[in-house]
């Protein structure tokens, strides 16, 4: 299951301190990790806490000492962590976290939707949306490598149940090869009783601005780093992941853009549409923060129409990936019309048929009449 793919990712990365609070649909991630810690299979310290806020706080401390840290959460738990997410970025602690996309309450839901992680968009965490369980495991290992090289925290995100509770075959990289790919974490300025310093103290307007600039610069550098690490990973393990994934785009006249598990469904829809002679392609945004705007501009500026499918909503505006894609394209000369679709909220199924229908509806329109095209709505 996707949850165990996260656990094994952390184990293979040799996480040294793990702290988490259980929440559906993340529970199995930490259940397995705590079992591994108890049996000695994983030489890590498992810190039991009373809340997600404390889980993140304890990892910030551990990471500041210079050890590799891991946690996982979902939805309300991630929201409860919010204050500490900002702290992790400001303290430049390269914590890696698994987040299972689950819809917010009320009303209570445990099913998938991206609003939880997207609500943390501006916390300075790198965000990566995985499409299958192999990618979940591989991404945890990659995330440590990118995060530790730039002192930025990273979130590996997967869909509730569609991935978290779905069993599929996952190839486990050999430990020795992972060790070679990911050497132990070294932190230059760390908490050390023999060399005491105060961390994160009051910083006046003369210095604060530059520290924020440095976070942005690290994020920009992370775009290159994800690609580099992706290439290195492919050389060692044979699987390639980039910032984005393209499917049948070279001759495409229109493109469907989405993220996470809608990807495989969308590829099926593209295949079906192509059978009827339609030149459509698919673009999956894998890394959402840092946002690969330049790459997306290069791909989208050569098509006639773009359809962004969001399993999330920025209330009062529109789908969040749609906003980001539109913003990235705005200053381009050859900007195609961009249509935003909101669907599958609260875990409602998004089928291949739905995506085909979305395409057929949109292709009849010259330009978007509104920022949201609702799909699968029963009212």
């Amino acid at each position: 299951m996707g949850n165990h793919a996260l656990s094994y990712g952390a184990k293979l990365s040799r996480a040294q301190v793990i702290s988490a609070y259980p929440i559906t649909p993340q529970t199995e991630v930490v259940e397995l990790l705590s079992r591994m810690c108890a049996s000695g299979e994983l030489k890590a310290k498992f810190i039991k806490v009373e809340s997600e806020h404390s889980a993140m706080a304890s990892l910030i401390g551990a990471s500041s000492v210079g050890v590799r840290t891991f946690t996982a959460t979902s939805s309300q738990g991630l929201a409860h962590m919010h204050e500490m997410l900002h702290w992790a970025t400001g303290a430049r602690t390269p914590i890696v976290m698994g987040n299972i996309n689950r819809a917010f309450a009320p009303p209570w839901s445990v099913w998938t939707e991206q609003n939880d992680s997207l609500s943390q968009r501006d916390t300075g965490w790198m965000q990566l949306y995985a499409q299958n369980n192999q990618e979940v495991l591989d991404s945890v290992i990659q995330a440590y490598k990118v995060a530790e090289s730039l002192d930025l925290p990273a979130m590996v995100i997967l869909a509730a149940f569609v991935l978290s509770h779905t069993s599929e075959t996952v190839e486990m990289p050999e430990q020795e090869k992972v060790d070679e790919f990911l050497p132990p974490y070294e932190r230059k300025y760390k908490i050390d009783p023999d060399e005491p310093h105060a961390f994160g103290g009051l910083t006046n307007p003369d210095n604060y601005f530059e520290l924020r600039y440095k976070i942005q610069k690290a994020m920009e550098e992370a775009l290159k780093k994800w690609e580099e690490v992706g290439e290195e990973f492919e050389m060692m393990f044979g699987r390639r992941y980039g910032l984005v994934e393209t499917y049948k785009v070279s001759d495409a006249k229109s493109l469907i853009v989405s993220s996470g598990t809608i990807a495989s469904t969308a590829r099926n829809a593209v295949d079906s549409l192509r059978e009827s002679g339609v030149k459509v392609g698919f673009l999956r945004i894998r890394v959402f923060r840092p946002f690969p705007a330049e790459l997306i501009r290069g791909i989208l500026s050569s098509v006639d129409k773009v359809i962004v499918i969001d399993r999330n909503i920025g209330f009062g505006a529109s789908g969040i990936f749609y906003q980001e894609v539109k913003a990235a394209m705005y200053n381009e000369k050859n900007t195609p019309p961009i249509f935003g679709v909101v669907t599958g909220l609260g875990g409602r199924d998004v089928s291949s048929k739905d995506i085909i229908e979305i395409y057929q509806d949109v292709i009849r329109m010259k330009e978007p009449k509104s920022d949201i095209i609702w799909k699968g709505l029963k009212i």
Partner: protein
Amino acid sequence: MAKKSDKKIIFKKEKEMPPFAISFYSMEYNKTGIWRNFRPVIDYDKCTFCLICWKFCPEAAIKLKKTKVKGREKLQPVIDYEYCKGCGICWEECLTKAIDIEEESD
């Protein structure tokens, strides 16, 4: 044992600097007295050496000095202006109003 942090650290290049806020040197160099807008001053003629100011000082900026009053050994409170932030708690708490508070001139 002398700790490394007892020495002032100087970064020669911007790249050597940590990307987050960290104190570069110990409190020996980081003198918080410069924050002060109001300066408490003890009038030793009124002071009864009760040391309530010393107990209440949140910054431990009141030191104790051995002194002799009418032939008897006493501990006299002395304000350390290098660290006193001028919060005025000692002035508020002093039972004999032996502490006055004045605005810093610059």
